[in-house]
Symmetry: C2
Subunit: 329 residues, 2 copies
């Protein structure tokens, strides 16, 4: 029943912007509409398998801190969601994924060809949407996010091959790859609602801290953190270097480090060995350390929020921060 619970919690948080989100559905559908039949079919498919809409939520709530949700804010939300969708479609090629959120991925149904082209098409539609509405600063904020995301992902590919990820590199990757679009969503919402440059920058930072905390939480869930159930160890099976693991590798002596890396490299599907590694990460404080780091980013996010105008929107954003770090899946 976890899924229901999450949906309920998010719906609750989204209460002050429920009307905005409904209007957004229509705005976004219009933004991706195409005269080309195949494109229309694919984008329609993408719209149907819509996710939790966390990024549009960030746009609308950030906007409502500073003003009304006018047309420019709607454009910002559609642009963010277009870019997010484009990168998801491209990620499917990157990861050779055949499922996403329980649906077949675009590349599974229409091939790598289709996925690359649809992604490019969505990017160009986002661009034109912003240009047609003369939202150049908005476009700049989001273009930087696209650049950061591709840089971050390329950095991860490079480092992941050798498993040689330091904590610094880990944070750079997740800041660029995961956090940058959340950061841009918050900045975009504030900007479109008329916030000043300093407020926009603080909202960008706020979004970045949420994004980093979000990713660390994902790492922790894989280790069965606190009361979130049995460790899954999926990240290790996929040779993904997460913060609890990276920290632990820095704590052990050369011999044990070598043994751990061998488990990840060669025995990553050996359930018993993986379980043993997960236990060691718990014992050596890797999970605790990552949780502390997550709390630091949560704390920084809340502090930034407290410099913003009070009200319903701020309350919802604060609850969203709590939701990100307390979720059970």
């Amino acid at each position: 029943m976890h899924i229901m619970k999450i949906a309920d919690q998010l719906e609750d948080i989204a209460m002050p912007i429920a009307g905005d989100l409904r209007a957004f559905e229509e705005h976004f559908r219009e933004a991706v509409r195409s005269d080309a039949a195949l494109l229309d079919k694919i984008t329609h498919y993408i719209v149907r398998r819509k996710g939790k809409k966390v990024r549009p939520m960030l746009v609308f709530l950030s906007a409502r801190l500073f003003g009304e949700v006018r047309e420019s804010v709607m454009v910002a939300a559609s642009l963010v969601e277009l870019l997010h969708t484009a990168t998801l479609v491209h990620d499917d090629v990157v990861d050779s994924s055949f499922y996403r959120r329980g649906f077949f991925s675009v590349n599974a149904l229409w091939g790598n060809k289709g996925a690359v082209l649809v992604g490019d098409y969505l990017l160009s539609r986002g661009l034109l949407l912003a240009l047609d509405n003369h939202q150049y600063e908005l476009l700049q904020v989001l273009s930087r996010a696209v650049r950061d995301m591709s840089e971050g992902e390329l950095l991860q590919i490079k480092k992941a091959r050798k498993l040689d990820i330091t904590e610094d590199v880990y944070f750079q990757i997740i800041r660029q790859k995961t956090a940058s679009l959340m950061a841009a969503s918050c900045a975009a919402g504030a900007l479109a609602a008329g916030a000043n440059a300093d407020e926009v920058e603080r909202m960008r930072l706020f979004g970045e801290h949420i994004g980093v905390a979000f990713q660390i939480k994902d790492d922790l869930l894989d280790f069965g953190e606190e009361d979130t159930g049995k460790p899954k160890g999926i990240d290790i099976k996929e040779k993904k270097m997460t913060l609890p693991l990276i920290h632990t590798l820095g704590q052990v002596d050369g011999g044990e480090k070598k043994a751990m890396l061998r488990t990840i490299r060669k025995y990553n599907t050996d359930t018993a060995r993986v379980a043993g590694l997960i236990d060691r990460v718990h014992e050596l404080g890797g999970v605790r350390y990552a949780r502390e780091k997550m709390r630091e980013h949560q704390q920084r996010a809340v502090e930034l929020l407290h410099t913003m105008p009070e009200g319903e929107a701020r309350q919802s954003l604060e609850r969203l921060v709590a939701f990100v770090v307390n979720r059970k899946k």
Copy 2:
């Protein structure tokens, strides 16, 4: 010795903008530079295997029709080349190509992952370059080209599966897929040099006619048109529907059409059958028809050019049109 000849001819045509092209090299290298080591390595590799730079040539010559090559024109040329490079890198994934212009493709060396991400990165760099220079109209012109290219390529994928391409669809595909970036290059150069809206639109049309003529010429070369040597038939081997073939399919009766389509579908590697099909296309006037169509677009391009200010730049553009339709490879 064809390659030398082509290089010489282009160098000659580029004479009035030789200095611009040299300055461009440096500008472009700076535009793709990255702090991320892997990215810098890949983009460096891309820059080294540089092509004929037809698109920057179009930008500079179109600009010089109306004014000086100022910084904004340089930005336009770099943006065009960034988008062109990004789409080439993405096309490598789309086509699963492992070579391009005699080099290994990006996806052969760094995987589909690398290619998709590098393409996205280059797109975002192009965006930021234009935004940092406040060239919003320029960005609009080029975003439309990106949209058209992905739409055109998706249309081709859809139609190619069933080989059911009419002449109308053929022209729509090549206008969107091949001609749109050349059209945008001419429009971008004119725009950046200060041409008015009507001039920009006429230059866009001029570029579109060049692009369409360029693609038909490619089709013709595959059929060993005039004195260009033995037919290669590579397009038929790759089941690519070209204008001479499409026209011919419209001329024959149902039985022969079925037989021709069977050859393309099933016997596309059977050299004798392919040679027979090529002969029939010649006999039935498919090659002649395509040549006429090419000449029409050449003619339209030249007519548009004659409405532009006289001078060195216009002469070069007129010679470029002649080069496109008269080249032997």
